[in-house]
Symmetry: C2
Subunit: 112 residues, 2 copies
């Protein structure tokens, strides 16, 4: 899509334990996979883990291969199908305190 | 290295807050980057985040492109330089309860 270097993102959010099965189920479907690809997002992984506080968390890793992340994310967030998708997923998730959604973590190591 | 499909891993471990600066510093150096590459590990990312319990956690994402993960990891873990590296890093880290080191998280979503 461009000669811009790939950007790598790690994000985290909580998930309500009682919603995990449904979350898995909707994520096995097509969902917004095509919209993510159109937005320049590649290699999107979500991992699930219970942490010592007893709560469940999701950790996402993805790469952005476009050349204008903010514009692409704004367009993605405004897409009617993505808004439906978020309306489905948001109630299952628990943003970290003070956050509205997934929070970007700080990358402290990278080895190609 | 092989025609085996890439395997994607997400792992988590705690980190002592007072060790974060030193952890960053040693991870900026060469460390065991060459050994990871020799072991078939690619695209190794570590992200840092404080969670609502007040503790700091590290989340790792990497890909394995070889064709015998267990053998490659056994060789990596036995390498003298990797043992030195772990002896340096392990005291800075706090494995999850009941774990000896990083724990592998469950992958619940992947979109290429």
């Amino acid at each position: 899509m461009s000669d811009t270097p790939v950007r790598r993102f790690g994000l985290v959010i909580g998930i309500r334990q009682e919603c995990i099965d449904e979350y898995r189920s909707v994520h096995n479907g097509p969902g917004v996979r095509d919209l993510l690809t159109d937005a320049g997002i590649r290699n999107f992984n979500i991992f699930l883990q219970q942490l010592p506080d007893g709560e469940y968390y999701e950790f996402a890793y993805y790469e952005y291969v476009g050349n204008d992340y903010e514009t692409d994310m704004t367009a993605l967030n405004a897409h009617p199908r993505n808004r439906e998708w978020l309306a489905l997923c948001d109630p299952m998730q628990v943003p970290l305190p003070g956050q509205q959604s997934w929070i970007e973590m700080e990358q402290i190591y990278f080895n190609p």
